[in-house]
Each structure stands twice: as structure tokens, then as C-alpha cells.
């Protein structure tokens, strides 16, 4: 897959599940869960930007007398709408403090400093084998001055009281780590 956005009728690439084969019923259930988590918000997200653009153009016309071309892309609008989750890669300066703990089903950042509530944060794997985290995650982690001071990660994801419900459907004991 070349660099760049792949778009149109394929809307998203989700995370990787274990290499072990899954039977049809398991696949159906995960398919259902993924779809339930899928909100049709890109359309209304974009309509917000379109409406703002039109009003801005009307104001500009009032002030300058010139009509304006209004153009919005779904990609632009949705990156703005999901700014907290817009992705950075792990070589971003913001990501210096991240420790990535691997499970056998997916990767998590263990932000286990007590003041952070011992919560887990998702790490997204991309099709090229790289990993990225959300900007919100990076900002939160970057407030921790010394990542070495973090206590060890809990042995299981389910030990985390502030875990994100979105990722609970595939929880496994920690089986290794990488940074």
C-alpha cells in the first residue's frame, strides 16, 4: 500500500486481531461489534464546516462585494472534528515518553503513573507495520517528566479501572513489550 490516504468506499482500516484463525461465528460477532462502534458522523461533521464556510463567504461578499468559492472536503472536516484523535507517529517529538506494551491481540500504551489513573491508551497499527498514537494520548503522556518513573504495567488489561470500553472486547494478558 503506497503512502497517502486511501479513501472513498473503503472508510477505515481497523486494528489487527490475532493470527490464529477465527471461525465464522467469531468473525460475525467482531464484525457486529465494529459496526456498532461505527457512528455515521463524517457526514454531519462535514456539514458543519460547509455551513460555516457559506456564512463566512456571505460575510466576505458583504464586505468586499465579491462572491466566494466555498470548498470543503470530508477529509479536512473530519480531521478537524477528530482533532484529539488525529494521529501522530511514534517518532513524533510528542511521543518521546511513550512506552508501548504489546498484547497478543493489539498494542497498548500503559500510562501507569498513579496520578494518571493507571489507564491504558490505544496504539494504532498501520498497514505498513508502523504504529501511531492519538495526539490526546501524546499530550497526556508528555506531561509525565520521567517515563522511567512509571511503575510496571499491570499484568492484564482488565486491571485498569479507567480502560476505554471501546477496546475491551479483545483483552489478553500482556505477553511482551517494545518501546
Amino acid at each position: 500500500m503506497a503512502n497517502g490516504w486511501k479513501f472513498t468506499w473503503l472508510t477505515a482500516i481497523s486494528r489487527r486481531t490475532p493470527d490464529r484463525p477465527m471461525n465464522l461465528e467469531e468473525i460475525k460477532e467482531v464484525s457486529r461489534l465494529l459496526m456498532r462502534a461505527n457512528e455515521a458522523n463524517p457526514d454531519p461533521n462535514t456539514s458543519q464546516a460547509v455551513a460555516s464556510g457559506i456564512l463566512l463567504a456571505l460575510l466576505a461578499r458583504t464586505r468586499t462585494g465579491s462572491g466566494q468559492a466555498v470548498e470543503v472536503t470530508m477529509l479536512q472536516a473530519n480531521v478537524r472534528a477528530n482533532a484529539d484523535e488525529a494521529l501522530i507517529t511514534t517518532d513524533d517529538p510528542l511521543a518521546h515518553c511513550l512506552t508501548i506494551n504489546a498484547t497478543d491481540s493489539m498494542r497498548f500504551i500503559a500510562s501507569t503513573k498513579p496520578t494518571m489513573g493507571g489507564s491504558f491508551w490505544p496504539v494504532y497499527s498501520n498497514a505498513n507495520g508502523g504504529h501511531s498514537v492519538s495526539r490526546r494520548t501524546a499530550r497526556t503522556c508528555s506531561r509525565i517528566p520521567d517515563s522511567q518513573a512509571w511503575p510496571p504495567a499491570p499484568s492484564t488489561i482488565s486491571n485498569s479501572p479507567l480502560r476505554s470500553e471501546r477496546f475491551l472486547w479483545r483483552t489478553r494478558p500482556m505477553s511482551g513489550s517494545s518501546a
Binding site: 482500516i13 481497523s14 464484525s31 454531519p44 458543519q48 476505554s164
Partner: protein, 201 residues
């Protein structure tokens, strides 16, 4: 929360508004338990910020037209409404007239996705979320992945408009077919077809 009322001095956080308004209830069914699920996407915050921008712009236009300043206000709750396509309305209808509009049971929330939006698993364990909503796009997808033959079968010839039996049979064909290749291999197929996925750089 608002200009008046008992909660007017309380800061309005999106997650609180989403929980109190029932938005999180509309995500029920993501977990293997009953009850609401956390609405992770901060859609209301984005929409509210844009509503504020539009309100300010509209106020500037109004001031330019009549010379008077305007009071601008919006709310998180107002701006979450466009994201709810039907569930809040259906809940209200079922409260008002439960016979005509029976409450949406968990059974409905456990319903499998429509085939045009089906998430599928690839051979190497990746998941793809499809969005072939238009009939022609769905048919292009079937042909691209090697399932075009089903359109010649009586059981599937009207795909994606089918009865339950046909739909579930085709679901199994699709889910099994997608297990035959890796994510990279499927992306090559999709990109080559041009109707399934394309560069949007």
C-alpha cells in the same frame, strides 16, 4: 450548563451531556452487556464550536444590516442532535406510543451490519470497514473480490436488497472470501478496480 436553571453554574463537558441526553445509550450493543457505551468521538464539541462560529458570523451580518449587536449562544445538547439519525426520536415515540413504536430491544442492537457496511477480517487478521452503500458500488465490490457470480443466482440477484435468508447467506460468502487474502493483497485489488478504494491525496 445553560444560562439558567439549577445546573447553570456547572461546566458543560461533552461526555456528561452525552450521558445525560442518552447519546451514550444509542451505542448500546458494543459490549457484551446491556447498557450505554462511552461515546468516544467528541462530535458535539466540534459541532458546537462550528455553531458558535456561525452564530458570530450571522451576528456580524445582522449588525452590518441593521446596526445592532446580537446575543449569540449555543449548546452542546443542541449540537449533538444532528448526530442522532433516529434513535432519540424513536425512544421518544416509543414512550409516547409504545404499541405503535415498541421499545428498541437489545435484539435490534445485536443485529448484524448491513452488507454494504460490513466490517470484514482479512487473512492476516486485519479488519476492513466497507462502505459500498450504493447498489452499483456494492455490485462492483462483489465483482472485484471474485463474488460476481452470485449476481447470476436467483438467491442473490437483487443484492444488496434481499430477504433475511439471502442476506445471511451472502454475508457468509463475503466473510469467508475476505479470509482468502491479506490486507495488502485486497488493497491492490480495490485500488486496481477504482470503484472500491482510491487515493485521496
Amino acid at each position: 450548563m445553560g444560562q439558567q436553571g439549577p445546573l447553570s453554574q456547572v461546566a458543560g463537558y461533552e461526555s456528561v451531556i452525552a450521558a445525560k441526553s442518552g447519546r451514550m445509550a444509542s451505542f448500546e450493543g458494543q459490549m457484551n452487556r446491556r447498557g450505554p457505551a462511552y461515546a468516544a468521538v467528541q462530535a458535539g464539541t466540534w459541532a458546537t464550536s462550528q455553531a458558535a462560529v456561525r452564530g458570530i458570523l450571522a451576528a456580524l451580518l445582522a449588525r452590518g444590516a441593521n446596526g445592532r449587536g446580537q446575543w449569540v449562544q449555543t449548546s452542546l445538547l443542541q449540537n449533538m442532535i444532528p448526530y442522532d439519525l433516529a434513535s432519540l426520536m424513536m425512544r421518544q415515540l416509543s414512550r409516547l406510543d409504545p404499541e405503535t413504536f415498541p421499545p428498541d430491544s437489545l435484539g435490534a442492537r445485536l443485529r448484524l451490519p448491513m452488507l454494504q457496511y460490513i466490517p470484514v477480517r482479512t487473512k492476516d487478521g486485519h479488519w476492513l470497514q466497507h462502505a459500498n452503500l450504493m447498489d452499483r458500488l456494492f455490485r462492483s465490490y462483489l465483482k472485484a473480490v471474485g463474488l460476481g457470480w452470485v449476481l447470476q443466482e436467483d438467491l442473490f440477484k437483487n443484492a444488496p436488497i434481499m430477504n433475511h435468508e439471502s442476506r445471511e447467506a451472502l454475508r457468509e460468502l463475503i466473510l469467508n472470501k475476505m479470509q482468502e487474502r491479506t490486507l495488502g493483497e485486497w488493497m491492490e485489488v480495490y485500488m486496481a478496480d477504482g470503484n472500491i478504494a482510491a487515493d485521496a491525496r
